[in-house]
């Protein structure tokens, strides 16, 4: 029995994007992979990536205009660890976040 998720909060979308970046480790990840992993439209992807960069949760490396790579910062790793703890806590009470 799997529970249907009604909607994804903004925080969960940001966490999904960061998880996609973290899964690639030190090598970093391009925008297409984040887009598929987090299941986002192109416009929303750009909007959320800007937000993550502004909050210093991810780092953008712009090799050229068509080849951008994103890395998780230490602040981003700590945020993701905290999110996972909160996700478990919410799951314990059956609360979707």
């Amino acid at each position: 029995m799997s529970r249907k998720r009604a909607y994804r909060s903004k925080m969960r979308i940001l966490a999904d994007m960061m998880r996609a970046i973290q899964s690639e480790g030190e090598e970093g990840v391009g925008p297409t992979k984040i887009l598929y992993a987090a299941n986002l439209s192109h416009d929303r992807l750009k909007q959320y990536i800007d937000e993550l960069v502004n909050k210093e949760l991810i780092l953008e490396e712009d090799l050229d205009s068509n080849n951008r790579t994103y890395y998780l910062t230490e602040k981003g790793r700590e945020f993701l660890r905290e999110f996972i703890r909160i996700e478990r806590f919410s799951e314990a009470f059956g609360i979707d976040i």
Binding site: A6, F89, S90, I95
Partner: protein
């Protein structure tokens, strides 16, 4: 003298449970601030109300019963006991609201909500005992926790389920004690308080395990 010893042990159990309730409050508040999920705020308020009731009972009972040997303090003890009972019912109603499955439609939620309200009103009309009302609400909370555990299979949900089942057992045993004086049923009284403590310890284990990296 045996009753005084029993009450002292009960107050110790209650204090530990109150501290754990405060820890859950802190964690739920932190989660609410990060996610903005209203149900986490309800969980936080529920445990805060619960801990306030517990500490109120500990302080009230200690001050008026242990210090003065219960002489001339029956009215105040009654007030403390009623306030404690009401705070627990308020907390359990908040748990019911927050644990309610989120994927049901608004319409269904309203129907379920009015259903439980009528059920609660009926218990007020049929039996004024706060213990019985707490049991009624907790049965619904336990059923919700069972559904949550079955749908997620999460070990964290299991600890919460065990916690609420033990709290329910604690109320059932306490309801049996209230029909007889504590002095005549000390074992059942202690069993009830022990079950409550174990319930909160189960929540503490959940907090520790959820907080691990």
């Amino acid at each position: 003298m045996q009753v005084i010893g029993l009450i002292r042990l009960d107050l110790l159990f209650e204090t530990i449970s109150g501290i754990i309730a405060l820890m859950v409050t802190y964690y739920a508040t932190k989660a609410y601030r990060l996610t903005g999920q209203k149900k986490l705020s309800d969980i936080s308020t529920g445990f805060l109300v619960l801990s306030a009731g517990m500490f109120g009972r500990v302080i009230g009972t200690w001050y008026f019963f242990i210090q003065f040997g219960g002489e001339g303090s029956h009215l105040i003890i009654s007030i403390v006991t009623i306030a404690y009972g009401v705070s627990r019912i308020m907390a359990y109603i908040l748990f019911f609201i927050s644990i309610r499955p989120s994927h049901t439609s608004d319409n269904q939620e309203n129907q379920n909500g009015s259903g439980i309200s009528l059920l609660l009103m009926a218990t007020f009309l049929v039996d004024p005992s706060l213990e019985i009302i707490a049991i009624m609400v907790l049965i619904v909370v336990v059923l919700q926790s069972i559904l949550n555990y079955l749908s997620t299979g999460s070990k964290f949900a299991r600890y919460v389920l065990v916690g609420f089942i033990l709290l329910l057992l604690s109320h059932i045993w306490m309801a049996q004690v209230t029909s007889a004086p504590v002095a005549t049923a000390p074992g059942l009284y202690l069993l009830s308080q022990g079950a409550q403590l174990l319930g909160f310890l189960s929540l503490l284990v959940m907090l520790i395990k959820a907080g691990r990296d």
